[in-house]
Symmetry: C2
Subunit: 235 residues, 2 copies
């Protein structure tokens, strides 16, 4: 089955967690909004879809299904592409971790948008500085310390043990994103999370991911996405 992914064409954003899963799985998919008039097609889907419109991108068309919300899409894909355990307990555990990553990703976004997503960064520079300081003082250590602990706890190569899941692919993206947005802060912090840094390298070395990262399907980080580099926040 060929999937259609609908997401904003110029950013990695939340769509990237889906792209990484599709790419690692070697799945056939169309990144709809990245071709001519694709964004219009995406907007039409959000208005229609037989009374079941998604609230926001990303969403994935899979046969007759149209699935929205990043973690929900991964829940669906994980089961079909060997990126999650088959048992109910395993599925719930991996999904739980993905939802925790989603919380971290949103907090990363809010470092530059503490007053909400509807105002420009330029209109919230001072609160952004404060929120970023708190984020690095309290939240990054708490979140990444938790995931580092999981890795250490079982001695496995991946967050949930010996086998990779979509959560590992997402953690790769989180490490990459924090490195891009906050190179100085992240460099200083990385000695605290040696396991996650190794995990990042392990994911990056996977053949399908490696090929993807060097292709033009991988959009570069930029200041319209979730992880943004503003020098004044990286002090």
């Amino acid at each position: 089955m060929k999937y259609s992914l609908y997401y904003w064409p110029d950013i990695q954003g939340r769509g990237e967690y889906i792209r990484l899963a599709l790419e690692d799985a070697g799945a056939d998919y169309d990144d709809v909004a990245r071709r001519g008039n694709g964004t219009s097609a995406m907007m039409r889907m959000m208005e229609g879809n037989r009374g079941m419109p998604p609230f926001a991108p990303p969403f994935l068309k899979a046969g007759k299904l149209l699935i929205g919300q990043t973690a929900n899409i991964l829940l669906y894909l994980g089961a079909r592409h060997g990126l999650a355990p088959k048992s109910e307990a395993g599925k719930l555990w991996v999904h739980q971790l993905q939802l925790t990553i989603a919380d971290l990703v949103l907090e990363s976004h809010d470092t530059h948008h503490p007053l909400g997503p509807s105002l420009y960064y330029e209109d919230q520079r001072a609160p952004a500085k404060k929120r970023t300081d708190e984020f690095w003082k309290e939240r990054v250590p708490k979140y990444l310390g938790y995931f580092e602990g999981l890795l250490k706890g079982h001695g496995g190569a991946y967050l949930t043990g010996r086998r990779i899941t979509y959560v590992d692919l997402s953690m790769f993206q989180v490490v990459e994103g924090l490195r891009y947005a906050f190179p100085k802060r992240m460099k200083a912090f990385e000695p605290e999370i040696p396991g996650l840094v190794e995990l990042r390298d392990r994911v990056a070395a996977r053949p399908n991911i490696k090929a993807y990262l060097s292709s033009d399907r991988r959009i570069a980080f930029n200041e319209d996405g979730i992880f943004r580099h503003y020098k004044e926040l990286d002090l």
Copy 2:
């Protein structure tokens, strides 16, 4: 099976979405942290659980399973207590809506904590005012307009059609929460969402919910929870 719910004992918070589902289902459960030494028991679970600790409350013990993240717990309970469709498509759709409600709930929280969860409200009053204004100007109309549109779209009594799901119970809580935190703003806004107001009443009238709301198991709203009433934000 008797469930054990682990959540902070003095607030509704995210635990309330689970409580409402358990109560509506007439499920047997223990609200662990609300009895003597219960909070210590909760903290121990977060440190242990055989290398699979939850990141934060709420979490639910269901036999051998320990399930974290509110929407994930509802995904599990919905399937077992007739609070979600049985088909995969239906399950994913209801979960997608729940995740969208979770986003709205977090944004509601951030109205009083725009600089992050680790600082006091008193240290972020000015940004809280700005974020609250944006929340009511942009975000509440977008989110609640979306859910109102779903109700209108199919003409059913509940968000996904003729049968109640856990999403309807959560929407009840959102309406209650916004009414508590922002009575003036919400009163002015409610004419925009007549369907959701009716849905709130329909949920409140369900026998198990009605009994729950008038019991001492229902914690009152207060200024330690997610929906907080600060007069200066309700202008």
